[in-house]
Symmetry: C2
Amino acid sequence: MPGLTIGDTIPDLELETTKGKIRIHDYVGDGYCIIFSHPADFTPVCTTELGMMAKYAPELEKRGVKLLGLSCDDVSSHKEWIKDVEAYTPGSLVTYPIAADPKREVIKQLNMVDPDEEDASGNQLPSRALHVVGPDKKVKLSMLYPASTGRNMDEVLRVVESLQKAARHKVATPVNWKPGDPVVISPSVSNEEAKQMFPQGFDTTDLPSKKGYLRFTKV
Amino acid sequence: MPGLTIGDTIPDLELETTKGKIRIHDYVGDGYCIIFSHPADFTPVCTTELGMMAKYAPELEKRGVKLLGLSCDDVSSHKEWIKDVEAYTPGSLVTYPIAADPKREVIKQLNMVDPDEEDASGNQLPSRALHVVGPDKKVKLSMLYPASTGRNMDEVLRVVESLQKAARHKVATPVNWKPGDPVVISPSVSNEEAKQMFPQGFDTTDLPSKKGYLRFTKV
């Protein structure tokens, strides 16, 4: 079925948004971008999500991450709906653009179609798809959630921190990792290299295989 | 690029696993199944993940959810590696099957390829892909994470609860929802129907649009 997955370059589409026309690659620029779809304006989960996205936007911005929303409603609908979004989540200001895809051209290309949902006219609707796009314009990570499941912005922030740590250091983040927790050193780094790269030191976990591959450090 | 996405039926492949041969549809049965890939045995993040999956398995089982792991290592490697996995996470017992895909046939079909990783021989490696498959054998939700980002089992449990609540009632879960929090009533349910379906009552949030679409209840 639809195509876009991790590792793919996001298509450089021109989008109509609440902030005017945007080309995706220009918008991503040299930073990261979270492009996410919502099923429809004036619907319950979406209203809670877009306000929370706005609340988290400053934390994301500190990390060089922009937000870009998208649904199949038109720009005038988005603008009316933002009043509800901001009213529901006090202190939220939707300063990020929300794109309009009434012709369903973008959602197909970005793997954002919800197969189980349609509008009153039988048109396709977007899922809750979320792609984290890196400075190289490639999809680094995707969450494909259905209309019924609102996203978890703490998880979104967690994976952004993980991706950025891995991009800066030769490390990865273990299961259930939270920002501030120790990270693991990539297997491609030898112990000799690790001593240079991580002068703060590292701890190797003793395992039955004695292979010494599980090395924790702090970065 | 590769295909499988939410709404698609998972291919009914026969897999070699640590628990013998398994056909995916038989294994899913009438319940849910989380099929997830890991890049490689005897690597750091994977070792932390598979032990944690084992720790969460009883909670998932209570909800009718089975686990099925997968990488491109062979079954004998998996069996050796499980000793490390269980040693690292005390109290974990890897009772779920781990499939072997040394020919890279399965990871392509299941959209589990990590485009940025390869083994010492230049072969493709799996990403940290995770698909929640429902009793109808369709993919309900996917997380496509790269090798660097270990998954969050609390988020996995959260989305399972959300999917199952939505399958049982005409509800959805708002942003950052946690089990026990109020849910929202689907827009397809009229207020009259909602009174019948939710005798415990519901609260309609007052929003600038006055459209009355944001209705919270407990189920």
